[in-house]
Symmetry: C2
Subunit: 285 residues, 2 copies
C-alpha cells in the first residue's frame, strides 16, 4: 500500500492487496462501488464517482489503460497518463482507494483467457474495433474479481460498451449491480472524453459537429421525420468535414438496428477528426 503525497486516498498497484482491502470492508458490512477508468479523469468520470459515493460506503476507482482493448495502430502508446492529477481529483471527491496496476500485474506472461459476449459486440464499435469489446469485457471481469464491488459505474457515452457490460454481467451471473450515468458535455456540447485532449483548436470545432448532428436528428424527428435514411443523410452533411465511421439507429437499450423511429431510439455515431476518433450518442423518440 502507498499513499499519495499528503493524501488520504489509498493507492494500490497489487491485485491481491486490493482484493484483501475490498473484502475486509465488505466483511465489516460496508458496500463498495467500483468506477473502472483509464485515467485522465474528467467531469464525466467524476460524475460516476459521485454516483458511487452517493450510494456506496466506499468507492474504488481503477486507473488502468487496458492494452487488450486497443487494436493495432490505435492510440495505446499516446493515451494520456496523469495519475498524480487523477489522485488529487479523486481525493477531493472522497474516493477511498485507487487501484492503478502496471500492465504486468493485470496480464501475466502467457495470458490467454478472454470473454466474448457475442452479437451485441459485433456491430458498430465492434466492427470498427474488432477486438475492442473482448478486451473491455475481459478487463472488467478481471477488475470485478479483484474488486468484487456491490455496484459498478459506467458512462453512457460508451453506449454499446454499457450493453456489453450488462450482457456479460447477466450471462455470467456476476453479483454486481451495473449503473449507467448520463453523458457529461462541455459548454459547447462536446461529450467529455480523455481523447478530447488530442484535439487542436480547429479540430475541437469539428468535434462539436457530432453533438450538433445528434441535435439535428432530434430536431428533424420533432418536426415529423421518422425515416432513418433521411435523418442519416442530413447528419452526414452536417458531419461532412469529419470522417464518419458509422451512424447507428437502434432501439433504446439494444444494438438492434431500426429503419424508422417508432419509439425511444438511440442514435450513436463515431467520426474521426484529424487523427482522433470521437464517439457520441443521444436518445430520441
Amino acid at each position: 500500500m502507498a499513499r499519495s503525497s499528503a493524501s488520504n486516498i489509498r493507492l494500490e498497484s497489487s491485485a491481491a492487496e486490493t482484493y484483501a482491502a475490498v473484502r475486509a470492508a465488505q466483511l465489516a458490512g460496508e458496500s463498495v462501488g467500483l468506477v473502472p477508468t483509464m485515467g485522465a479523469l474528467h467531469e464525466g468520470h467524476l460524475s460516476l464517482v459521485d454516483a458511487s459515493l452517493a450510494e456506496c460506503d466506499r468507492t474504488v476507482v481503477s486507473v488502468f489503460v487496458n492494452p487488450t482493448q486497443f487494436g493495432p495502430g490505435e492510440d495505446l502508446a499516446s493515451y494520456p497518463l496523469v495519475l498524480e492529477q487523477d489522485l488529487r481529483l479523486l481525493e477531493e471527491r472522497g474516493c477511498w482507494l485507487v487501484f492503478a496496476p502496471q500492465a504486468g500485474e493485470m496480464y501475466k506472461p502467457g495470458h490467454g483467457t478472454y470473454v466474448d459476449v457475442g452479437s451485441v459486440a459485433t456491430l458498430y464499435e465492434g466492427a470498427c474495433r474488432p477486438t475492442h469489446f473482448r478486451g473491455v469485457a475481459t478487463v472488467v471481469l478481471k477488475l470485478l474479481q479483484i474488486i468484487p464491488a456491490d455496484r459498478a459505474y459506467f458512462g453512457r457515452k460508451d453506449y454499446q460498451q454499457t450493453l456489453v457490460i450488462r450482457k456479460m454481467v447477466s450471462d455470467l451471473n456476476l453479483p454486481v449491480e451495473v449503473r449507467v450515468s448520463p453523458i457529461v458535455r462541455e459548454a459547447d456540447g462536446l461529450a467529455m472524453s480523455s481523447r478530447n485532449a488530442y484535439l487542436s483548436e480547429s479540430e475541437r470545432q469539428q468535434g462539436c459537429l457530432l453533438w450538433q448532428s445528434l441535435k439535428l436528428a432530434e430536431k428533424m424527428y420533432s418536426e415529423g421525420e421518422t425515416e432513418v435514411a433521411a435523418i442519416t443523410k442530413a447528419m452526414k452533411e452536417r458531419l461532412a468535414s469529419t470522417e464518419v465511421e458509422y451512424i447507428a439507429f437502434a432501439a433504446e437499450g439494444t444494438m438492434d438496428e431500426v429503419t424508422s423511429i417508432e419509439g425511444p431510439t438511440v442514435v450513436a455515431l463515431a467520426a474521426r477528426v484529424g487523427k482522433t476518433r470521437l464517439i457520441d450518442n443521444h436518445t430520441i423518440g
Copy 2:
C-alpha cells in the same frame, strides 16, 4: 429453498437464493467449498466432497448437466440423472447445500457470453470436442459467481480440464483456490466415471484396457524405455479392441507435448468402447 424428504441437506434451484445463502455464510465468517458436478455421483466425486469437508466450514455441491460443454451428437440427452440418490449420498457425507438448477436458470434466452482460455484448451480433448472447454470454462465461471467459494474441487481424471480451470482462474483473477484430487478407480483399475454406467459387461472389460495401457507405459518406462513413439505403439496394441482418439504425453502440469520422457510426464488418453467415450491419465517419470 426446499429440503429433500427427511433430509438435512438444503436443495436450491435458484441462483439468487444460492448466492444469498453462500454470502450469508461467508459474512458470518465461514469458509465455503464448491464441488461442481454433473450429478450421477460416484466415489470420485465424493472424494472431492470429502476434501472440501476437511478444509471448509460449508460444502456446496452443484449438480448441473451443462449443455454448453456437450457437442452435437454427444450424450447430453442420455447423461444419467439421479438427483434423489445424489442427495442421499451428499447428505450422508455432510454436505450443506446442493445447487441443482434447471438449464433455463443457468442459460437465459439469448445467452451469448463465453469464456475461452486459449491454447491449453485446443489440443487433445479440445480437438476431439471443439466447444467442450469453452462450455466448461463458462459454466465454472458462472458457478463461481453464484457460489463465490473460497475453494473449488476438481478431479484429476479430467486432467486437461484442471489445466483449463487453473488457467481461467489465474488469467481472470478469480478469488478461489483450485484443489485437484487424485483419480479414484474401481477394483479392476477402471477410472470412476458417471459414463461407466453406459458400459455392458464386455465393454467394461475393454474399458479396463485404458488403465492397463497406462500401467504398461509405466512399466516400459521403469524398464528403461523413454521414447514416446515406442510406448505409444505398445499402448495402441494393448488398446486394439477400442477406438483410440488420442494418446498424449505432456510435461506434468501442462499440455506441452513431449517426445521423450525426461521428467514427470502425464500420459492422457481417450478411447471409445462401443458408443461410450472414456478418458484416463497417469503420471510417470
